[in-house]
């Protein structure tokens, strides 16, 4: 039986094994094929994880003047890269799984970051509330709650924010939803920028932002007993600790997203993405399912936002603009909507470009390619470059770098999800109603 199944394998696999044989890697190839299924599934991920987790150790040994990219990101930059990737994976739930275009994800980032600011800083001088906080003096005023709890609070609060935003707006379809989310993405940053005297009450400290925000840590007791770091900021290798924690956060997010995708809820999301009307007809509660997608997407955004606020020791309104939403959306599109690994890889690449990659590439180009005196500032045109990337991707590879298998089929067969109705269908006019736009015209009862 196993032999016959081997023979029936797809041509892609046959091609790959042929390649392996030709390249003289035959022994290794057959060995790989003989490994049990779970190993083959998890080994690449584990190898990647090991490579990522040990990054701080071998970073110093990497060449410092690498062509094109100049140097590899520092551990500090790597933290930011991972956190943004986490947000992209969260956004992938909304856009990739459920097919709801969200142009205001930055709102969730902001809510998460400011929750961390409220619950773990000296922002509210009027009160003094300590709970499991580390690294601050006992008489410090303000609310100081352990960052681990704050992460959960922020995630929960952001998820609630997602539900609040979602409930009234998710009845809308397609680009109307996109524009509403965009509106929220503009309102919330403006709110935090201006809410420094709401009837004399300073909620967000205006343009100055909330700073300093406490660092994570495990407290003195655990430090003495088990050796866990008491407070990240007070450790000499704080960046590494932040790095590993961020990696753990990302892994948790990925794990949750994979499990969610395969759950009943996840399958309902994908059904909605493929054909909303049919999904509704099959008994999927559309509103509830979409609201869940929103809440869960927001949940991860909030947790990541709170963590990055703790890492930066502050939440500032200038961090939250529309560009971030587009930037995260770019990661999802570039990676392939719905494909977790695609999004992770695109997220790492794009956030690296954002943090230091573009600047490095610019420096390298100016030093090696362009004649002196004709320098260009690559970093200045960062978003223009993203714009070009988006447009080119949409034209030539709309399914993304590593498309999810199912999503790819949808694109090939033509799906009827909320966002996949073609604008025009002038070709392929043999289907009934091919020329009409989307749904029938005329008054349609709302509800």
């Amino acid at each position: 039986m196993p032999r016959r199944r081997d023979r029936a394998r797809t041509s892609a696999r046959a091609y790959r094994s042929e390649l392996v044989q030709r390249s003289g890697l035959r022994a290794a190839g057959t060995y790989w094929d003989r490994l049990p299924g779970p190993v083959r599934t998890f080994a690449p991920a584990l190898a990647l994880l090991a490579l990522a987790a040990t990054y701080p150790f071998y970073l110093a040994n990497l060449p410092g003047n690498f062509p094109v990219i100049n140097e590899f990101p520092s551990v500090r930059s790597a933290v930011t890269i991972i956190v943004f990737t986490t947000m992209a994976v969260g956004l992938n739930v909304v856009v990739g799984y459920c097919g709801l275009l969200d142009l205001g994800y930055v709102a969730f980032y902001a809510i998460g970051a400011y929750t961390a600011g409220w619950l773990a800083s000296g922002q509210f001088q009027q009160v003094k509330l300590h709970f499991g906080s580390v690294g601050i003096t006992h008489d410090a005023r303000g609310i100081h709650i352990s960052i681990w709890l704050v992460l959960m609070c922020a995630a929960a609060l952001t998820a609630m924010g997602g539900i609040l935003i979602g409930l009234p707006t998710l009845r809308l379809r397609g680009d109307y939803l996109a524009i509403v989310t965009l509106g929220f993405g503009e309102i919330i940053p403006q709110f935090v920028r201006n809410a420094d005297s709401l009837h004399g009450f300073d909620l967000t400290h205006g343009t100055f932002g909330i700073s300093p925000i406490d660092a994570p840590g495990f407290g003195e007791t655990l430090h003495r007993r088990v050796g866990l770091p008491a407070s990240y900021q007070q450790e000499f290798n704080a960046d590494r600790l932040f790095f590993w924690t961020a990696l753990a956060l990302l892994l948790l997010t990925i794990f949750c997203c994979i499990r969610l995708r395969d759950s009943r809820l996840g399958r309902a999301w994908i059904a909605i993405r493929e054909d909303e009307t049919a999904a509704g007809a099959m008994g999927i509660p559309l509103m509830r399912t979409k609201t869940w997608a929103y809440a869960i997407g927001a949940f991860f955004g909030g947790a990541a936002g709170a963590y990055v606020a703790s890492f930066n020791q502050g939440a500032f309104p200038s961090q939250f603009n529309f560009n971030i939403s587009v930037f995260l959306l770019c990661m999802v599109i570039l990676g392939g909507m719905g494909s977790i690994w695609g999004v992770v890889i695109a997220g790492v690449i794009l956030s690296w470009l954002n943090v230091e990659g573009l600047a490095n590439i610019g420096t390298w180009l100016n030093n090696n390619v362009f004649p002196s005196g004709h320098n260009i500032e690559v970093a200045k045109y960062q978003f223009g470059i993203y714009g070009v990337v988006i447009v080119l991707m949409m034209m030539f590879r709309p399914q993304g770098l590593i498309p999810e298998r199912r999503r790819k089929r949808e694109l090939e067969e033509g799906s009827h999800g909320p966002l996949d109705e073609p604008v025009y269908e002038l070709r392929g006019g043999d289907e009934p109603g091919a020329g009409e736009r989307g749904e029938p015209k005329g008054p349609v009862p709302r509800g």
Binding site: T169, G183, F184, V326, L329, P440
Partner: protein
Amino acid sequence: MIGLTQGSVYALVALGYTLVYGILQLINFAHGDVFALTGLFSSTLIVSHFNLDESSGALVILGGLAATFLIAMAFGAVVNATIELVAYRRLRSAPRLAVLITAVGMSFIVQNISLAVFDVNFRSVPPLISDANVFAIGGVHYNWQAFFVILVTFPVLVLLTWLVKNTRQGKAMRATSQDPEASAMMGINVNRTISFTFLLAGGLAGIGAVLFLVEFNIRYDTGFELGLIAFTAAVLGGIGNLSGAVLGAIIIGMIQAFNEGPFLWAPGSDWTRSIVFGILIAILVFRPEGLLGERTPEGA
């Protein structure tokens, strides 16, 4: 009354959104940036090429402005149609999401072109139109600058209405927006009609940009925010509906003027954006078809 002036500029931009949405069902995010690019271009034109300033003679100013309007219109139209030709045309049968995302991408590209050519500084033109009052009744002042804006906008709107309602090309536009396939079967060149719509939208944005310059200064990213406000206006009036866009724009302009005006209870200009987007969300939630629009399945 300032609201009416602001509203006129919004109306010209909002019409661009509504025209394109009506025919292609696409939120052309790049439209606001075309506006900014055209505005920057016109500021250079006025300052460096025509050398206009407040000391020039009245006729020279009027002639120069008229020439600027024409050139800005042509420029905006060409830029907008080029965007359509380069980016959107290939995606005619692609999923809607793809086109929408491409529009966001084009917005960034156009914004960066403005940044590359005109740098990050704000540009402005000298006060060409006198700011003496046309009339002042009680506390309400109305100056020539504001009046000029309306003086230009009104004929443009009349002309546009005539163009859409009474000409052959306008008829083709309306037909295409109703049913592209049937129009194609009736011998309408759909692609050319769409191109024409983009040209028209760009031209309106060009006029709006010059009018904007008369009162305000402009920067590479001015267009994005203004575009969003104008889009709100278009949605408020009922997207795809021309008179709705104008009405919505004037309402938004009024709201903005009241909000930023000398009223104690007004939250002030810091909150303008929040209020405008709050309105946008409220409309989309409660009356997605807008004030004058027809009901569409979008909001169902």
